[in-house]
């Protein structure tokens, strides 16, 4: 079976591509990336700041139940075209990872089918590989918990 989410990392390049086809219209896909309450639900982060405009910025945070900050990321929005494109930087705070440049393209395939293509450019190939090597089991567990939580809420 073909995988919905594809990740491509080429040797000798400091970039990474992620693509995914969604069974939703492109305007809904774009909304998921530009409305704070929706971002909070699928990313599992709190949105402290989100300015959807050129030269705007954003700040996301994730705290544990005791209020300890687990994850904090910020970036600048370079350009934004509704239902088409977001170009932004992304930086995880308090880590050794340098900021990265992200090109998000939103494409309509059909009336209720769309594709997200994300191209990330890293400072170096090593930085990219380190990102890929991150122990994602932790993130996966959090994602599973969050997914369960969202499903529970939807079925209430």
């Amino acid at each position: 079976m073909e995988q919905k989410t594809k990740v491509h990392a080429e040797e000798g390049k400091q970039e990474l591509s992620i693509s995914r086809v969604f069974e939703i219209p492109v305007h809904l896909l774009f909304r998921a990336y530009t409305e704070a309450d929706l971002i909070e639900q699928f990313m599992g982060n709190t949105v402290l700041k989100l300015e959807n405009k050129a030269h705007g910025s954003y700040l996301f945070e994730k705290k544990d139940e005791l209020g300890n900050v687990l994850f904090r990321a910020n970036g600048c929005i370079h350009s934004i075209i509704p239902n088409q494109q977001i170009i932004r930087t992304f930086e995880m705070e308090n880590t050794s990872f340098p900021p990265q440049l992200e090109f998000l393209s939103f494409e309509e395939i059909a009336a209720d089918k769309s594709e997200l293509k994300v191209k990330i450019v890293f400072k170096s190939e090593t930085d990219r590989d380190n990102q890929l090597k991150l122990p994602f089991e932790y993130g996966l567990n959090m994602a599973h918990d969050q997914l369960q939580h969202v499903i529970n809420k939807l079925s209430e």
Partner: protein
């Protein structure tokens, strides 16, 4: 998780990826592989050598001919390396999709 740079190197090159795809269909002799390309026999041999060193491809002697075939273990290492990262995003995107299907049109 250990970074297998050698395995990455093997799949980075488009010619080597084509060879992998061909061998996924069936085991082939070096001559048969080379016939599919415009490159010299030496160039193709070099690509096969890299794939063999990275243990993605293995050779088997059948009579007088050497056949190359995919080594399932080597292929699995490529998938293992990138799979947790891919899964992380897949989960996130599944959640996005489920969430947006519930949205009322504005």
């Amino acid at each position: 998780m250990k970074l297998r740079r050698d395995v990455f190197q093997a799949i980075a090159d488009p010619t080597r990826r084509t060879i992998i795809t061909m061998l996924a269909a069936s085991a082939m002799t070096p001559t048969a592989i080379a016939e599919n390309f415009d490159y010299s026999r030496q160039t193709i041999s070099k690509h096969i050598q890299i794939l063999t060193e990275c243990e993605i491809v293995e050779q088997e002697q059948k009579g007088r001919e050497i056949y190359y075939q995919l080594n399932p273990e080597g292929m699995k290492e490529i998938a293992d390396f990138i799979e947790p990262f891919r899964k992380f995003w897949d989960e996130r995107f599944n959640k996005l999709e489920a969430l947006m299907k519930q949205q009322k049109p504005k």
